[in-house]
Structures are given as structure tokens and as C-alpha cells.
Subunit: 179 residues, 4 copies
């Protein structure tokens, strides 16, 4: 789950306040899996954000972030897709608010397939076809696209941040692309 | 459920053969609800095919038709959307093969909300955003678009062919547009 | 959405703290629609909690409540079902964490079909078959069961608290019981 | 996909007729994944039917079979569960007719993850908790239960008939049990 920037938090809570809340109630997130699809709707590629964390190495993530107060889920999705893929990505937002899976990130590992040491987050996850041009923003070095076959390679999944490899595999299973 | 033209049948079974089969096994269909969506993915309009049946009056229908031998569900969807909305409709085919509902049409009324006097048909139903220009084809007089509020008016739903009003209401419920 | 008792809040936040948080971030809820099903899995009845609010009259509600810190969604469901239907209700918890709909309750009416003057709540809604004996708990006078045909009567839906009539209609649509 | 017994076919079509139809139109099936769940609804075991095919070796399958003329999907599920697990299995039939996935079996390998040399079958797949006693019927030697961790072992998945390993992995992904 991606690091939330201070400006993102600051408009609502101080970092100290948010730190307290994060240890006392579940935080609502959205996760988006950016995909390229062919004319038949078949997923041809999955997009990942490439980052270099402070502790070194590289790390890949999906689009992910908090739902803000008085924000609809589809608006939170649109905002985070815009923030991470740039304004020309042309994402197709879902017609239904029902996620393909619900990822429950716990600070304690092993309760679910999802883990976030900072908080208890509950994320509604969506597969989002993007039709336009995606450009890395902010802290991302690049946006890499992998075919379904490539992305489930252990060495690629191993680069994903906590839980995002489980999200990708679930998305491929749900769409019939997990062979 | 729309009348299937002879040419559609003829390539596989004679009308007599199909008539026999239709009384002895369930026939697999796809139903598509064509919708217009705004940039946020919210449904703004639902499309219906306007027809004048031989027995007089007018009738509205969704896009509907059989799945052929060795045809993928998404290919059947693409074929029927093209056949009913024209080649410029630009439908967004679903990334997942899971329908939003399964409509079981029985020749006997009252078993489900769906009824088809000709056959036992099982239809996988999908909500399909269309982005391009839709033109009535073949036996349709026109394609009429209604807002979600307009289409659930009893006089419009009453014009729908058997079961298609239940499909529309289910689609609006699933997408959060049934208020 | 049901009133949350002080003891439910007190273990985590003071009422003042929660009041502040409720105006600044979305609160995660679960909604459960208790149903009776026949041997085929068809819904035969929907359960509602009958209450007499302080302002007079009667009010009906579904099972609803917050997800607590470090609590799985299925544990939150089990806790609220137990709290509202009693320990002998024998609810069948879902095998999947994916809700049948996501209800976004806004303090401002009209943004979605769901409204909660106290807060911005996002609720994952589940249809829960119950097999055992249900007894009203705490502030509920009774648990009333209605057939799908009865519960969509305007006078019954009018007694439901904000948004719960939309939840019931969506649940009946999704399960093929909205005729 | 399991071999369909002659008596199952004979009441509707002769084997010759069915053989012809199977090469000319898609056949509607249901697949059921029998599971044991704990009190929280978490899958603890997946059931498989152990068989010894004529060509030797062993083979595992899920519950699978055709939908008959004028039969509801839930009735087809009940019939095949009864036929394969025995009358005391106490399966919990789904409240919704929407499958967790749609498996498209083609006679040509490689079009989807599902392959059936005999026919083009389209199967609506459901995860079915069973609460009672399961006994092997007819051609099955035994019913073996595996934990989610055990069943995804390559040597177990390799024993599954065509496509059923993909169904199991999809079911585990959808229910959050694919780690």
C-alpha cells in the first residue's frame, strides 16, 4: 500500500492525529489495477508503478490511496488514478460500486493475504482499463506494463509491495486470465 | 428476447431442427444493456431497440441473442452489439466473463421473472457502456435512450419485451441507480 | 443506519472524539440483510428490526454497524448479527468478502441513494441467511419477517431507516426476487 | 468435466442426437465446488471426487453436469450435488443465480483455461458449502477433502480433470484464500 503524502493528509488531519486514528479504526482505501485491454475486453497488460524506496532496491505498486471525507468511491478512484498515471490516462471508471475483491490489510501479518505495518486498512479493489497515455507522477520512476503471463513470474511478484501481488493474482483469476 | 432471424439459425440447424432442440434443452443466450456513462462511470442513459411487431403496437428490447458453437461469450456479445447497434457503436466489452445477473427464461410463466414462450433460454446479462454512434439495424425502427429515471416509468417498462424490464431494473439496482 | 451505543464506541474513542472523526473521514460499516431461505436457496422472508425512536412512531432497520480496529469484515458481521438477532440466530457468513453492494451514506442527501445525517459512512452490504431462532435484542421491540412481495410494499419501505429500503430492493434484484 | 451417464441423456436425446448437438451448439452446465467452512464462513476444505478412468491412473473432479430442459440452475445444482455427494450432504444452495465465474470449455485447447474434447460447454460455477455427510456415488471411489493449502499443490492439481484446477484456483482467489 503506497505511502500517503503529507499534503494528502494535511488538509484533514495533522500527521499526529492521523497516526492516532490509524491505530484505532480501519481506514478506507481504494486500490486500482490499471490494465490495457484489447477490442474484445481481454486484458493484455497490467500496469505497475516503479519506485525506489528509501531503504534501497526497487518496488512496484498498484494505484492505491485513501477515500476522503465526503468523497464518493468513484471520485477517490478517479483522483488516485489521475495522481499516479497522469491526466491523460483516460481510465474507464466502473459502472458499479461493487469491487472485484475487498483487501483487508492488517498491521499483524497472516490474518489475511494483505499486510500493512502502519495501519488497519480496508480497500475496495477495482480493475480499471486505461485507454490513454500514462506518465509516472511524483515519486514513481516509471510505469511498467506486463502481460498477464509476465506479471505472475515470481521475480516480478516479489517486487510488489505488501499485498499487491495477491491483488494481481486475484484480478487475473476473476477475469479468467489465471491459467 | 428478440426473434432470431433464419439466417442466424440456418448456418447451424434448420428451423425444424432448432424448433425441436428448443423444446428439449436450454439454449444459451447473452443479453446486453447498452448504456451511456459520464466521465465518472455513472450511467446517464439506457438504450432500447424500438420495433413494430407483426401483431401491431410498438415494442422495446435490449440487445440479445444466442451464443453459437465455438464462440466465446465476449465474441457473442460483440456480434450481437454490432448487429443491433451498428459498427460504430464502440462498445466496451467486459474484462470479466461474470454476468451481473443470469436471466432464466422459461416457456412457462411465473417460474422466474423471465418468460419466453418459444424456449427455455439461459442468458448471461451484461451492462455495456457504448461510446460511439448507434444506428438502428435490420428490424429496429430506432434506438431510444432514456435516463434511469425515465426508463423505470411504468409506461416505458410496459413496452419492453418479456423479461427485459426485469433486466433493466436489476441493472439499475446493481449499479446503484435504482433510487 | 442504526444508532451506535456508547459502550460500542467507548472502548475506542470518546463520543467527542468520534463526533470529530465522523465529520472528517469516512467510517467503515457492514450492513446485513437477514433472510430465510428454502431448501433451494430461494429467499422466502426478509427480517427487519422494529424500533420506537425517541421522536415517536416506529422505525425498521436492517442489521448494521461499524467495523472496529483490527476486526475482519466477517467478524464485524458476526458481531452485529449476534448483537441484533441474538446468539441462537445461526447466520451463514459469506465465503467471499465481496459485498453484493456498497452503500455510500453521505451527510448530504441526494449524492447517492443512501443518507446518514451524522456521518459519511461506507457500508459493505451482505445478504445473510439465518437458520436459527432470532430474538430482538437491546433497543429492538421485535424482529418482523416479510416475504419479498410484502416488504416492497410502499408502506413497509416507508418505515425503513434512511437507505435501508434501497438496500432491500437491491438485494431482491440481485437475487432474482425483484419481479 | 465429468462423463455424463447415458440415463442422464437418454430421457431427452439419444446418444447419437446428443453427439450431433454437442458439435453444433454450446451446452449449458453447472460446476459446483463443494467446500467445508468454519463458523466464520472461511473455507477450510475443498472436496474432490476421486475416480479411476478406463485408461488407468486416478482422476479428480468437482461436481459438474448439464442443465436439463425446464430446469432452474439451482435445481440443476441440487440434482448434481445429490447425485455426486449423496442425499445427506446438505448443500447450501446460493441465494443468487450469479456464478463466481463462467467456465467456457472449448473442444479446441488454448482458447480459455478450460478444455473439453467432447464439446463446447459453458458452465456456471458456484462455491457450495456442504454441512452434512458426503458419500461417494456411482463411479466415484471416494470423496477427498483438502485444505486450500494442500489442494493447490501441483501434484494434486495435476490429478484434476480438464479445467477443474483452474476453477479451484479461481474459487480460492475470489474467496481470499489464494495466498
Amino acid at each position: 500500500m503506497s505511502e500517503v503524502g503529507t499534503d494528502d493528509i494535511g488538509s484533514w488531519f495533522s500527521p499526529e492525529e492521523l497516526a492516532v486514528i490509524r491505530r484505532r479504526m480501519p481506514i478506507l482505501y481504494v486500490d486500482a489495477i490499471p490494465v490495457r485491454v484489447d477490442a474484445d475486453g481481454v486484458i493484455t497488460a497490467v500496469g505497475t508503478l516503479l519506485r525506489t524506496p528509501r531503504e534501497g532496491g526497487i518496488q512496484r505498486a498498484l494505484v492505491s490511496g485513501r477515500v476522503m471525507y465526503h468523497e464518493r468511491i468513484r471520485d477517490a478512484l478517479a483522483r488516485h488514478l489521475d495522481k499516479d498515471l497522469g491526466p491523460m490516462a483516460l481510465p474507464r471508471l466502473p459502472v458499479s460500486p461493487v469491487p472485484f475483491t475487498v483487501a483487508e490489510y492488517f498491521p499483524t501479518p497472516g490474518i489475511t493475504a494483505y499486510h500493512d505495518p502502519r495501519q488497519h486498512a480496508v480497500s475496495l479493489a477495482f480493475i480499471i482499463p486505461v485507454e490513454g497515455d500514462c506518465q509516472p507522477q511524483q515519486d514513481a520512476l516509471d510505469i511498467d506494463w506486463f502481460t498477464p503471463e509476465q506479471i505472475i513470474a515470481p521475480e516480478i511478484l516479489a517486487e510488489m509491495v505488501d499485498g499487491h501481488s495477491a491483488l494481481i493474482r486475484t484480478a487475473l483469476a476473476v477475469t479468467g486470465r489465471l491459467l
